[in-house]
Amino acid sequence: MTNKNKYKQAFSVLHSESNIDLEVLMMKKEKNRKQILKKAGLAVAGFAFLFVASNGIAYAATGSTWVAKIVNFTMADGSNVEIVEENNAISYTIVSDKEKLHDYVSAEEGRLYFVLGDIKEDVTEKCSAQDYYKYEYTDDEGMRHVILVGGTVEDAGWAELIFDKDGTYIFNQMNVSAEMPVWLQKGMQEQGVESGSPVLNDDGITSEEEFSTIEGEQ
Protein backbone atom coordinates (compact mmCIF):
# COMPACT_ATOMS: atom_id res chain seq x y z
CA MET A 1 0.00 0.00 0.00
CA THR A 2 1.38 3.44 -0.89
CA ASN A 3 1.85 6.19 1.66
CA LYS A 4 -1.04 8.07 0.07
CA ASN A 5 -3.35 5.11 0.50
CA LYS A 6 -2.20 4.60 4.07
CA TYR A 7 -2.72 8.28 4.83
CA LYS A 8 -6.17 8.35 3.24
CA GLN A 9 -7.20 5.24 5.08
CA ALA A 10 -6.07 6.74 8.38
CA PHE A 11 -7.79 10.10 7.90
CA SER A 12 -10.97 8.74 6.31
CA VAL A 13 -12.25 8.16 9.85
CA LEU A 14 -12.80 11.89 10.27
CA HIS A 15 -16.35 13.00 9.62
CA SER A 16 -17.98 16.30 10.35
CA GLU A 17 -20.86 15.91 12.77
CA SER A 18 -22.53 19.20 12.02
CA ASN A 19 -25.74 19.39 10.10
CA ILE A 20 -25.20 22.63 8.24
CA ASP A 21 -28.28 24.80 7.94
CA LEU A 22 -27.32 27.94 6.04
CA GLU A 23 -30.40 29.87 7.09
CA VAL A 24 -29.67 29.23 10.75
CA LEU A 25 -26.02 30.19 10.26
CA MET A 26 -26.96 33.42 8.53
CA MET A 27 -29.34 34.31 11.32
CA LYS A 28 -26.60 33.66 13.87
CA LYS A 29 -24.15 35.81 11.96
CA GLU A 30 -26.59 38.67 11.73
CA LYS A 31 -27.35 38.33 15.40
CA ASN A 32 -23.66 38.51 16.24
CA ARG A 33 -23.15 41.52 14.05
CA LYS A 34 -25.88 43.43 15.77
CA GLN A 35 -24.41 42.38 19.07
CA ILE A 36 -27.62 41.38 20.64
CA LEU A 37 -26.29 40.35 23.97
CA LYS A 38 -28.60 38.36 26.08
CA LYS A 39 -28.45 37.47 29.67
CA ALA A 40 -27.09 34.00 29.25
CA GLY A 41 -25.77 31.35 31.57
CA LEU A 42 -27.54 32.66 34.62
CA ALA A 43 -27.00 29.36 36.34
CA VAL A 44 -23.27 29.94 36.13
CA ALA A 45 -23.55 33.58 37.06
CA GLY A 46 -25.80 32.76 39.99
CA PHE A 47 -23.19 30.97 42.00
CA ALA A 48 -20.26 32.85 40.59
CA PHE A 49 -21.45 36.14 41.98
CA LEU A 50 -21.51 34.66 45.44
CA PHE A 51 -17.76 34.46 45.37
CA VAL A 52 -16.82 37.46 43.35
CA ALA A 53 -17.36 40.67 45.14
CA SER A 54 -15.41 42.77 42.74
CA ASN A 55 -13.34 42.53 39.63
CA GLY A 56 -10.47 40.14 39.86
CA ILE A 57 -9.71 36.50 40.06
CA ALA A 58 -11.27 34.17 42.58
CA TYR A 59 -11.14 30.50 43.35
CA ALA A 60 -14.26 28.79 44.55
CA ALA A 61 -15.96 25.49 45.22
CA THR A 62 -19.62 24.91 44.54
CA GLY A 63 -21.78 22.05 45.76
CA SER A 64 -21.04 19.81 42.80
CA THR A 65 -18.41 21.52 40.71
CA TRP A 66 -14.96 22.85 41.31
CA VAL A 67 -14.71 26.27 39.80
CA ALA A 68 -11.07 26.87 39.11
CA LYS A 69 -11.09 30.52 38.23
CA ILE A 70 -13.52 33.37 37.93
CA VAL A 71 -12.70 36.66 36.27
CA ASN A 72 -15.14 39.49 36.36
CA PHE A 73 -14.80 42.86 34.70
CA THR A 74 -16.67 45.63 32.94
CA MET A 75 -16.29 46.47 29.27
CA ALA A 76 -16.05 50.07 28.11
CA ASP A 77 -19.73 50.02 27.12
CA GLY A 78 -20.73 49.01 30.63
CA SER A 79 -21.38 45.32 29.88
CA ASN A 80 -20.37 43.07 32.72
CA VAL A 81 -18.34 40.05 31.68
CA GLU A 82 -17.73 37.03 33.78
CA ILE A 83 -15.37 34.24 32.78
CA VAL A 84 -15.56 30.94 34.58
CA GLU A 85 -13.09 28.14 34.13
CA GLU A 86 -14.30 24.79 35.38
CA ASN A 87 -13.50 21.20 34.53
CA ASN A 88 -11.05 22.35 31.85
CA ALA A 89 -13.78 24.28 30.04
CA ILE A 90 -14.23 28.00 29.93
CA SER A 91 -17.59 29.68 29.79
CA TYR A 92 -18.50 33.30 29.95
CA THR A 93 -21.50 35.41 30.64
CA ILE A 94 -22.11 38.91 29.37
CA VAL A 95 -24.76 40.96 31.04
CA SER A 96 -25.59 44.17 29.23
CA ASP A 97 -28.04 46.93 29.55
CA LYS A 98 -29.36 47.14 26.00
CA GLU A 99 -30.30 50.77 26.43
CA LYS A 100 -26.74 51.72 27.26
CA LEU A 101 -25.11 49.56 24.59
CA HIS A 102 -23.60 51.49 21.76
CA ASP A 103 -21.02 51.20 19.03
CA TYR A 104 -17.67 52.84 19.62
CA VAL A 105 -17.76 54.15 16.08
CA SER A 106 -20.30 56.30 14.37
CA ALA A 107 -20.50 57.49 10.76
CA GLU A 108 -22.04 60.90 10.31
CA GLU A 109 -22.10 63.05 7.18
CA GLY A 110 -19.19 61.26 5.58
CA ARG A 111 -17.03 61.39 8.72
CA LEU A 112 -16.10 58.65 11.18
CA TYR A 113 -16.19 59.31 14.90
CA PHE A 114 -14.84 57.37 17.84
CA VAL A 115 -17.49 57.60 20.53
CA LEU A 116 -17.12 56.64 24.18
CA GLY A 117 -18.93 58.40 27.01
CA ASP A 118 -18.25 62.10 26.59
CA ILE A 119 -15.56 61.48 23.99
CA LYS A 120 -16.42 62.06 20.36
CA GLU A 121 -13.35 62.29 18.20
CA ASP A 122 -13.19 62.59 14.40
CA VAL A 123 -11.00 59.69 13.31
CA THR A 124 -11.80 59.74 9.59
CA GLU A 125 -8.24 60.46 8.51
CA LYS A 126 -6.80 57.83 10.81
CA CYS A 127 -9.02 55.00 9.61
CA SER A 128 -9.20 53.06 6.36
CA ALA A 129 -9.58 49.45 5.25
CA GLN A 130 -5.97 49.01 6.36
CA ASP A 131 -5.63 51.49 9.19
CA TYR A 132 -7.18 51.98 12.57
CA TYR A 133 -7.47 54.40 15.45
CA LYS A 134 -6.58 53.19 18.93
CA TYR A 135 -7.97 54.35 22.26
CA GLU A 136 -6.64 52.82 25.43
CA TYR A 137 -7.30 53.08 29.14
CA THR A 138 -6.77 51.09 32.30
CA ASP A 139 -9.77 50.63 34.57
CA ASP A 140 -9.84 50.80 38.35
CA GLU A 141 -9.18 47.10 38.61
CA GLY A 142 -6.05 47.27 36.47
CA MET A 143 -7.62 45.79 33.33
CA ARG A 144 -6.24 47.43 30.20
CA HIS A 145 -8.86 48.15 27.54
CA VAL A 146 -7.66 48.69 24.00
CA ILE A 147 -10.35 49.87 21.61
CA LEU A 148 -9.54 49.71 17.92
CA VAL A 149 -11.70 51.52 15.40
CA GLY A 150 -11.11 51.02 11.71
CA GLY A 151 -12.53 50.72 8.23
CA THR A 152 -14.28 53.27 6.10
CA VAL A 153 -17.40 55.38 6.49
CA GLU A 154 -19.26 52.71 4.50
CA ASP A 155 -17.80 49.80 6.43
CA ALA A 156 -16.51 50.79 9.83
CA GLY A 157 -16.05 48.51 12.79
CA TRP A 158 -14.48 48.28 16.21
CA ALA A 159 -12.92 45.84 18.60
CA GLU A 160 -12.26 46.03 22.31
CA LEU A 161 -9.39 43.92 23.62
CA ILE A 162 -9.00 43.27 27.32
CA PHE A 163 -5.70 42.56 29.02
CA ASP A 164 -5.54 41.61 32.69
CA LYS A 165 -3.18 43.09 35.31
CA ASP A 166 -0.42 40.76 34.16
CA GLY A 167 -0.82 41.91 30.58
CA THR A 168 -2.45 38.66 29.48
CA TYR A 169 -4.96 38.99 26.68
CA ILE A 170 -8.15 37.59 28.15
CA PHE A 171 -11.16 38.77 26.21
CA ASN A 172 -12.47 40.70 23.29
CA GLN A 173 -15.69 41.90 21.78
CA MET A 174 -15.98 43.29 18.32
CA ASN A 175 -18.41 44.48 15.74
CA VAL A 176 -17.02 44.13 12.25
CA SER A 177 -18.71 43.18 9.01
CA ALA A 178 -15.98 40.85 7.74
CA GLU A 179 -14.52 38.05 9.80
CA MET A 180 -11.16 39.75 10.22
CA PRO A 181 -10.63 42.99 8.30
CA VAL A 182 -7.07 43.99 7.51
CA TRP A 183 -7.08 46.95 9.93
CA LEU A 184 -8.13 44.65 12.73
CA GLN A 185 -5.54 42.00 11.92
CA LYS A 186 -2.94 44.74 11.92
CA GLY A 187 -4.21 46.24 15.17
CA MET A 188 -4.29 42.90 16.93
CA GLN A 189 -0.84 42.03 15.71
CA GLU A 190 0.47 45.32 17.01
CA GLN A 191 -1.05 44.51 20.38
CA GLY A 192 0.81 41.22 20.31
CA VAL A 193 -2.32 39.11 20.37
CA GLU A 194 -1.48 37.21 17.23
CA SER A 195 0.15 33.85 17.73
CA GLY A 196 3.86 34.39 17.71
CA SER A 197 5.84 37.43 16.75
CA PRO A 198 7.38 38.04 13.34
CA VAL A 199 10.62 36.25 13.96
CA LEU A 200 12.20 33.99 11.41
CA ASN A 201 11.42 30.33 11.82
CA ASP A 202 13.59 27.53 10.54
CA ASP A 203 12.00 27.72 7.09
CA GLY A 204 13.20 31.28 6.76
CA ILE A 205 9.72 32.74 6.75
CA THR A 206 8.11 34.84 9.39
CA SER A 207 5.23 33.58 11.41
CA GLU A 208 3.26 36.55 10.15
CA GLU A 209 3.79 35.40 6.58
CA GLU A 210 2.99 31.88 7.48
CA PHE A 211 -0.28 32.79 9.07
CA SER A 212 -1.13 35.63 6.76
CA THR A 213 -4.72 35.84 5.74
CA ILE A 214 -5.62 37.07 2.33
CA GLU A 215 -8.15 39.83 2.25
CA GLY A 216 -11.49 38.49 1.14
CA GLU A 217 -10.53 34.93 1.89
CA GLN A 218 -10.96 35.04 5.60
Binding site: K6, A10, S16, E17, S18, I20, L22, D203, I214, E217
Partner: protein, 160 residues
Protein backbone atom coordinates in the same frame (compact mmCIF):
# COMPACT_ATOMS: atom_id res chain seq x y z
CA UNK B 1 -18.72 30.40 -12.06
CA UNK B 2 -20.63 29.57 -8.91
CA UNK B 3 -21.88 26.31 -7.53
CA UNK B 4 -24.70 25.85 -5.07
CA UNK B 5 -23.53 25.88 -1.47
CA UNK B 6 -25.66 22.85 -0.67
CA UNK B 7 -23.88 20.78 -3.32
CA UNK B 8 -20.50 21.94 -2.08
CA UNK B 9 -21.44 20.98 1.47
CA UNK B 10 -22.23 17.46 0.26
CA UNK B 11 -18.99 17.28 -1.69
CA UNK B 12 -16.49 18.85 0.67
CA UNK B 13 -17.83 18.90 4.21
CA UNK B 14 -15.69 16.00 5.38
CA UNK B 15 -12.63 17.24 3.48
CA UNK B 16 -12.84 20.64 5.11
CA UNK B 17 -13.43 19.01 8.47
CA UNK B 18 -10.25 16.96 8.01
CA UNK B 19 -8.27 20.06 7.04
CA UNK B 20 -9.62 22.00 10.01
CA UNK B 21 -9.13 19.11 12.41
CA UNK B 22 -5.56 18.79 11.20
CA UNK B 23 -4.96 22.30 12.48
CA UNK B 24 -7.32 22.54 15.48
CA UNK B 25 -7.04 18.94 16.74
CA UNK B 26 -10.51 19.50 18.12
CA UNK B 27 -13.69 18.14 16.54
CA UNK B 28 -16.01 20.86 17.82
CA UNK B 29 -13.74 23.69 16.67
CA UNK B 30 -13.29 21.95 13.32
CA UNK B 31 -17.06 21.72 12.89
CA UNK B 32 -17.32 25.46 13.62
CA UNK B 33 -14.68 26.14 10.99
CA UNK B 34 -16.53 24.05 8.41
CA UNK B 35 -19.78 25.89 9.06
CA UNK B 36 -18.12 29.30 8.93
CA UNK B 37 -16.34 28.41 5.71
CA UNK B 38 -19.49 27.36 3.88
CA UNK B 39 -21.29 30.40 5.24
CA UNK B 40 -18.54 32.62 3.88
CA UNK B 41 -18.82 30.94 0.49
CA UNK B 42 -22.57 31.38 0.59
CA UNK B 43 -22.29 35.09 1.34
CA UNK B 44 -19.42 35.98 -0.96
CA UNK B 45 -20.15 37.25 -4.43
CA UNK B 46 -16.79 36.05 -5.66
CA UNK B 47 -16.74 34.32 -9.03
CA UNK B 48 -14.53 31.28 -9.56
CA UNK B 49 -12.71 29.97 -12.60
CA UNK B 50 -13.75 26.36 -12.15
CA UNK B 51 -14.58 23.73 -9.56
CA UNK B 52 -10.95 23.25 -8.58
CA UNK B 53 -10.70 26.95 -7.89
CA UNK B 54 -13.70 26.68 -5.56
CA UNK B 55 -12.21 23.66 -3.79
CA UNK B 56 -8.86 25.38 -3.28
CA UNK B 57 -10.63 28.53 -2.03
CA UNK B 58 -12.70 26.54 0.46
CA UNK B 59 -9.61 24.76 1.77
CA UNK B 60 -7.71 27.99 2.06
CA UNK B 61 -10.52 29.75 3.91
CA UNK B 62 -10.98 26.75 6.21
CA UNK B 63 -7.26 26.76 7.01
CA UNK B 64 -7.27 30.47 7.78
CA UNK B 65 -10.31 30.12 9.99
CA UNK B 66 -8.81 27.14 11.78
CA UNK B 67 -5.62 29.10 12.45
CA UNK B 68 -7.68 31.99 13.76
CA UNK B 69 -9.51 29.54 16.01
CA UNK B 70 -6.18 28.40 17.39
CA UNK B 71 -5.21 31.98 18.19
CA UNK B 72 -8.55 32.68 19.81
CA UNK B 73 -8.95 32.60 23.56
CA UNK B 74 -12.21 30.71 23.23
CA UNK B 75 -12.50 27.13 22.15
CA UNK B 76 -15.47 24.85 21.98
CA UNK B 77 -15.69 22.37 24.78
CA UNK B 78 -14.49 19.11 23.31
CA UNK B 79 -12.97 15.78 24.15
CA UNK B 80 -9.23 15.82 24.72
CA UNK B 81 -7.43 14.61 21.60
CA UNK B 82 -6.46 11.20 22.95
CA UNK B 83 -10.02 10.52 24.04
CA UNK B 84 -11.34 11.75 20.70
CA UNK B 85 -8.97 9.42 18.87
CA UNK B 86 -10.33 6.53 20.92
CA UNK B 87 -13.80 7.22 19.52
CA UNK B 88 -12.58 6.85 15.93
CA UNK B 89 -12.91 3.51 14.15
CA UNK B 90 -9.60 2.92 12.43
CA UNK B 91 -9.33 0.01 10.02
CA UNK B 92 -5.97 -1.08 11.37
CA UNK B 93 -3.72 -0.28 14.33
CA UNK B 94 -1.21 1.08 11.81
CA UNK B 95 -3.80 3.60 10.61
CA UNK B 96 -4.41 4.72 14.18
CA UNK B 97 -0.69 5.09 14.74
CA UNK B 98 -0.20 7.06 11.52
CA UNK B 99 -3.10 9.36 12.42
CA UNK B 100 -1.66 10.03 15.84
CA UNK B 101 1.87 10.60 14.61
CA UNK B 102 0.74 13.02 11.89
CA UNK B 103 -1.06 15.06 14.53
CA UNK B 104 2.13 15.15 16.55
CA UNK B 105 4.03 16.83 13.71
CA UNK B 106 4.56 20.60 13.85
CA UNK B 107 1.62 22.37 12.22
CA UNK B 108 3.57 23.71 9.24
CA UNK B 109 4.59 20.18 8.23
CA UNK B 110 1.21 18.67 9.08
CA UNK B 111 -0.67 20.96 6.72
CA UNK B 112 1.61 20.32 3.78
CA UNK B 113 1.58 16.57 4.41
CA UNK B 114 -2.21 16.59 4.58
CA UNK B 115 -2.68 18.56 1.38
CA UNK B 116 -0.25 16.29 -0.43
CA UNK B 117 -1.33 12.89 0.84
CA UNK B 118 -5.03 13.42 1.47
CA UNK B 119 -6.10 16.10 -0.96
CA UNK B 120 -3.72 14.94 -3.70
CA UNK B 121 -2.41 18.42 -4.36
CA UNK B 122 0.94 18.85 -6.12
CA UNK B 123 3.78 20.86 -4.62
CA UNK B 124 2.94 23.73 -6.95
CA UNK B 125 -0.72 23.70 -5.97
CA UNK B 126 0.11 23.56 -2.27
CA UNK B 127 2.45 26.51 -2.71
CA UNK B 128 -0.38 28.46 -4.34
CA UNK B 129 -2.84 27.58 -1.58
CA UNK B 130 -0.44 28.43 1.24
CA UNK B 131 1.04 31.42 -0.58
CA UNK B 132 4.57 30.20 -0.01
CA UNK B 133 7.26 29.19 -2.47
CA UNK B 134 7.45 25.73 -4.00
CA UNK B 135 10.86 25.33 -2.39
CA UNK B 136 9.34 26.03 0.97
CA UNK B 137 6.65 23.40 0.38
CA UNK B 138 9.28 20.86 -0.70
CA UNK B 139 11.31 21.54 2.43
CA UNK B 140 8.30 21.15 4.68
CA UNK B 141 7.17 18.01 2.87
CA UNK B 142 10.60 16.49 3.09
CA UNK B 143 11.01 17.29 6.79
CA UNK B 144 7.52 16.03 7.58
CA UNK B 145 8.13 12.79 5.70
CA UNK B 146 11.44 12.28 7.44
CA UNK B 147 9.83 12.76 10.85
CA UNK B 148 7.13 10.25 9.98
CA UNK B 149 9.68 7.78 8.65
CA UNK B 150 11.78 8.10 11.81
CA UNK B 151 8.79 7.34 13.99
CA UNK B 152 6.80 4.91 11.87
CA UNK B 153 9.82 3.00 10.49
CA UNK B 154 8.60 0.29 8.12
CA UNK B 155 4.99 1.46 8.39
CA UNK B 156 5.90 4.45 6.22
CA UNK B 157 7.61 4.09 2.82
CA UNK B 158 10.60 6.23 1.99
CA UNK B 159 9.06 8.21 -0.89
CA UNK B 160 11.54 11.05 -1.16
Amino acid sequence: MRQSTEILIEMYQDNLFAVAFNICKNGADADDVVQDTFLQYHLTKKQFDNEQHIRAWLIRVAMNKAKDKMRSFWHQKSLPLDEYIETLSFETPESANLFEQVLNLPEKYRIVIHLFYYEDYSVREIAAILKVTETNVKVRLSRGRKMLKDILKEEWEDDE
